[in-house]
Symmetry: C2
Subunit: 507 residues, 2 copies
């Protein structure tokens, strides 16, 4: 029951197909926006819950700041920040009026309001009121919110006009403490991606030209999608005193002198779900890592003989309750007994497309044998897909099974990442030849040439950026682990380049 669109034929079509088949989200009648449906939103809730715990464990508190930001707050930024993005939703009126039977905007605002593309400026405004002395520092806050950027080519989860995210904003008394904070939060994101999402990442910092406007350093984590392209999974910015100066966040330091605070900001968004899909989904649909699955075990009753219905239902309910009392990753196992009036086979494929980790079927024969038949979603094309087991054994080992699936998903994704970072390209000529191939789905069994990440030298000269653009490439990051060796810059061909960077196509 493979999807209509396979990865090796058209990766973008396959992506859209997975989102629809797993019923995770859909295009909305509101232009460029998405409706996040229960299965997709349930995954986001799991990401939120797990990340929120980590954010709180690192001593941050949640707040909420206004959706609307007065236009004047952007004026100074626009004047000083190169690459200031101007695509934003602008509120200009506060009333509808009926004219000739048609509703039209009325009551123009004195000052237009911008629907927040990020809350940097409005939060900085609050910080400037909150911070007076070193005793008020650090300020460590986070916000879960919707933000809006006027994307012209929306794609579900990856790029929509409205998306959901968290944005952390902190202010500190010293340069070092703020720099450390930005790194700490990058590590928190890495922990989320690797240990919860089973999505390995490369940690590093952005080259100068690609930093967040106004940042001293932009740290990032980059994940490899199945088509060899990179997805920026999260960023953490060390802003130095730049934002504090423009927002006047000043404090009296321990020497009793006024000083500008050192700030950071960091965020991840519903884009992560796009990354999750392109890391784990297959030609049958979505596969959700157990830690993120809104339902980890689905029980489907197989009722061929109606006279056995009550008995099978009772057996399934007992199984459900027993599974629910098991603990996986510190929480009760999430189990759904799917007794909707639909054909069992349709339900089975529905949950397969959604990517529930374990699907259990119970019928008259299972009752007799006190057994279950369960399917391991990620083994769909392997022998381990269908398994028969004693029901008590299944219950007792369900947490272990979920952990094994979680581990195996990470191992698969890690093998893909590790196996597709090319490190032996040493000249600009070889580099050009490599990326002359088109991006294709990586796990295609060698049917087509594949391109993914190249880890190689860069001279750091911004004159090379034209070449990069021409090759439709980006420098994803300067990884933390630098070799320090010298070599030929893969863009300019200059010798003596020392910087190791990750070159890749990107989302």
């Amino acid at each position: 029951m493979a999807l209509k669109n396979l990865r090796e034929n058209s990766y973008p079509d396959w992506y859209q197909n997975v989102v629809a088949a797993a019923d995770m989200a859909e295009v909305s009648s509101s232009p460029g926006c998405m409706v996040i449906k229960p299965w997709g939103y349930g995954i986001w809730e799991r990401i939120q819950r797990m990340l929120d715990e980590k954010i709180k464990e690192t001593n941050h508190e949640n707040c909420y700041f206004p959706l609307f930001i007065p236009l004047s707050y952007f004026q100074k930024e626009a004047e000083h920040v190169e690459g200031f993005a101007k695509e934003m939703a602008i509120v200009t009126h506060s009333r509808l009026s009926m004219e000739d039977g048609k509703l039209v905007p009325a009551s123009p605002l004195d000052e237009p309001l911008i629907v927040r593309p990020t809350s940097e400026t409005i939060i900085a405004d609050s910080f400037s009121k909150w911070v007076h002395s070193y005793r008020d520092l650090p300020v460590l806050i986070n916000q879960w919110a919707n933000v809006v950027r006027w994307e012209m080519r929306p794609r579900l989860f990856l790029r929509t006009r409205e998306f959901l995210w968290q944005e952390g904003h902190t202010a500190h008394a010293t340069f070092d403490e703020a720099e450390k904070e930005a790194e700490t939060m990058l590590n928190v994101y890495e922990d989320l991606c690797v240990n919860d999402m089973a999505m390995p990442v490369i940690k590093g910092k952005k080259p100068e030209y690609d930093k967040f406007p106004g940042a001293v350093t932009t740290y990032c984590i980059e994940a490899m999608m199945q088509d060899g392209r990179s997805l920026q999974a999260g960023t953490s910015h060390f802003l130095g005193q730049n934002f504090a100066k423009s927002a006047d966040i000043k404090f009296i330091n321990t020497n009793n002198e006024p000083e500008y605070a050192y700030t950071t900001s960091w965020g991840v968004s519903t884009r992560l779900i796009g990354g999750l899909i392109m890391t784990h989904a297959d030609d049958e649909g979505m596969c959700v890592p157990p830690k993120l699955a809104p339902q980890q075990v689905i029980i489907i009753p197989i009722i061929k003989d109606k006279s056995k219905a009550a008995e099978i239902t009772a057996y399934a309910e007992k199984l459900r309750d027993a599974l629910k009392s098991q603990i996986f990753a510190g929480e009760k196992v999430r189990v759904r007994f799917d007794n909707r009036p639909k054909e069992a086979v349709d339900k089975m494929w529905e949950w397969t497309r959604k990517g529930a980790p374990l699907i259990v079927e119970v019928g008259a024969k299972d009752l007799e044998k006190n057994a279950v038949m369960f399917r391991n979603r990620i083994h769909i094309n392997q022998d381990g897909w269908k398994n028969f087991e004693d029901v008590d054994v299944f219950i007792a080992t369900v947490a272990e099974k979920l952990q094994t699936i979680q581990d195996e998903m990470l191992a698969r994704a890690k093998a893909r990442l590790d196996g597709n970072i090319v490190t032996d390209i040493k000249t600009a000529a070889e580099f050009e030849a490599y990326f002359a191939n088109n991006n294709v789905y990586l796990d295609n069994g060698g049917k087509a040439p594949k391109v993914a990440f190249v880890r190689g030298k860069w001279c750091g000269d911004e004159a090379t950026l034209d070449k990069l653009k021409e090759m439709r490439l980006t420098i994803r990051c300067i990884p933390f682990d630098q070799s320090g060796s010298e070599g030929e810059c893969l863009l300019s061909g200059k010798k003596g380049a020392t910087l190791d960077v990750i070159y890749a196509r990107s989302y």
Copy 2:
């Protein structure tokens, strides 16, 4: 250390004072919007968590729908719905452009977008696509979101242009099932208010003239504030087929005939926090019911002799860890060891104003005696405010103490509600005399006349509404428990009125 503004002097000033003193929220530079600060947002997170569990237990799933709704969606509603609210934020442009050094709106939209005042119309649009057969029903969804209504006289938590809420929307195959759903969710709200927020409510339905536009029935819960005014704490609407007809939510029923679905919607918002404050706060600041307190126990070290600092800190940390392993209301006790470099007395008053239920002080003497001194926030003006106890006893009984505080807060609020519903007003003349008094703070020890709720007769004639308006009153609800007796309508003076209603001033 009472607040500057006391309840008996000016209740509205006192309210603002509490919000500021407890550091729960502040007015934002974004006009009419608020910044919800960590202590206020922490309370909202608790409300969210507890309500979300109840929403899921009643088989609803969370989704997310777009912030922006095309103007055309409101056109039909505006034509047909009397009392259609026109105060909304309207997005008309999608780009900023720099002209003569000034940022100005550019790129006008083809169709203006409304920032959702509620998602009724856009969710109904999705339902019309999702529902085809009785097998697709019921659809039971909920959304946590921000919404915007262009309030002209904003007040923190009670009335701001942007606020946070949840909105449930459901579609059903039968009238009865949908009506039952609306009642079920009213009960869920009652459970939240009474058992988690310690805020008793009166359940009933709104009179015809005050229903949600388009609803068949609007159910509501009403809470009594300390100034005798009523706060609508939540509403649940049974919409019949009205919305299904206008949004074309149609299904093939079990008789194989097309039929319009029956829908409901229900919501509560950050306004609940305003209700919480006006139910529990006192002249010293906020009091948070233990179940909602972001921190339930605060530990403050008292270090007079610096040589004892390490020992006291170790003692406090051990106490914190022991308390954290205790379970209250199914969760680990939330404890904060406040070791900020501030005076202990200032910290004590800070947490008192915030309304943390238990504040523990540990100093050298406590160490010696293996004891603690704890303050019970709600007993601040009673003997039980300061208590000395053996540390092991304190740890072993902390959950019990929190439960006692929770129960006592509910009992106090219930006594206020029960004691201030006047039921012996039998004539329009008595009624007018009663409300000729000004509203004052109820627990003022008889220093001034007080007015609160009157439970009395209403003839149901809408001609009486002018009188109601003139008296600055509202009919809060028609309570579920009707006596059925006859009497004089307290507005029109007509005899033979049978409807029991709650009359009150309101927020």
